[in-house]
Symmetry: C2
DNA sequence: ATTACTATCTCACGAGTAC
DNA sequence: TGTACTCGTGAGATAGTAA
């Protein structure tokens, strides 16, 4: 990535911040050391090495030095900054789950069609989902773990309710893209009926049909997240 | 600046580039080591330490691991990237010279009013400068050094010429701001009459009067440079 | 006050290897 | 194939100090 020593990055950054790009800046090794959280001796060595490698120029002025960053030094910093920035920006802004469809669409479907929930679906989503959930068995532990991370992200909250006999937990819905084409909602439940490795999806229409899926099919679910 | 170890920056950047921000990414310590130009053992240790410090999360999958960068790890990278980027951008885009006016405005003035030069001033600048140069004695060695750097920057080239008896060298003019208010031109000569530590300035009008300067006054000259 | 040498120490790295 | 020990080496850090 760079022939600039890693330990010198902070030092060069500090010089840059001091404005040493086009003008020679008077600086002492002790103040520089303080700023990079190293000793005076370390700062001195850094300057010596950076000079040796052509990343900076120094001119002596009696006892003190003035330092300027060279074209080469500047280019190197730009390179690092660009690489960092682009890897931060190129990060996909979704969480992806991979798994296989499992046939049973029992329990979930029953609960999701209860009036206490459908009322809220209508008002918060604008429609009542297709009566039935699509269940996906996650392929890998990592997806189970990723599921937990959903908590901290934005979702549509469907509140729990009581029908007099018992209470029903909340449901949180996340916009999801199935196989990168069909829209649906991934739901997480306050009280889970299945084990952790199973994902439940609901949708406006019958997802299975819309995405031409059958039992056992492999499936990808992407939940967009704001990159914060 | 950060409690993230410097040597871990590249490792985190590599994970970031692999897309480990929102999703767990399967990665082997040997491939990671290769990418950060370190050994498998070093990569292993980096992951161990990054995990310890809460910058990444890992989940084991048999023999392999999947890795994801945490909020904390991501924030740290954003911080570094921001600091770098802003110090690169906040660099002033001028070279500044500080010095004192010296009275003698002899030689330079004579040469600059020669027809071979004034012809070109008229065509390349649009005007003939005030007949007289302002001479500035630089306060510090570092400004003398900085003067040399001017060569690589943009300037208006006034070609040398011959009047039959002798030849006269070229003159390069740089836009300059005196005391951050009055415009002028800093000139460098192919053949210098003074020593290196003296700067010569010319202008449309009498700079001394315009900037209310007298012999001995301290003066600042800024030459804008493209930041490349 | 400076810078930077020498000596010392710490800890990051890689080699070898266990699991 | 994997990860991650232990251990030897040396780069890079600090302390002390000369100039």
């Amino acid at each position: 990535m760079s022939d600039l020593k890693v330990q010198h990055i902070l030092t060069l950054a500090e010089l840059l911040a001091k404005g040493a790009r086009h003008n020679f800046v008077s600086i002492t090794t002790s103040s520089l050391g303080k700023n990079i959280h190293r000793s005076q001796q370390a700062a001195s060595k850094h300057l010596l090495e950076l000079e040796q490698d052509g990343y900076i120029e120094r001119i002596r002025n009696g006892q003190k030095f003035s330092v300027r960053i060279t074209q080469k030094g500047h280019a190197e910093m730009v390179k690092i900054s660009t690489v960092l920035k682009s890897s931060l920006e190129s990060a996909p802004s979704y969480i992806e789950f991979m798994g296989n469809i499992i046939s049973g669409m029992g329990e979930g479907a029953y609960y999701m069609s209860m009036k206490g929930y459908t009322k809220q679906f209508k008002s918060k989503l604008g429609y009542i989902p297709f009566p039935g959930t699509l269940n996906v068995k996650l392929k890998d532990k990592k997806f189970v773990e990723a599921k937990r991370e959903l908590d901290v992200h934005e979702g549509i909250m469907i509140d729990g309710f009581s029908d007099g006999k018992r209470t029903y937990g909340w449901v949180k819905c996340y916009q999801a893209k199935i196989n990168n084409s069909v829209d649906g909602l991934l739901i997480t439940l306050e009280r889970t009926h299945y084990d952790d490795s199973i994902l439940e999806l609901i949708s406006h229409t019958n997802i299975k049909k819309a995405a031409k899926l059958s039992g056992g099919s492999q499936i990808s679910i992407r939940v967009p997240v704001s990159s914060k």
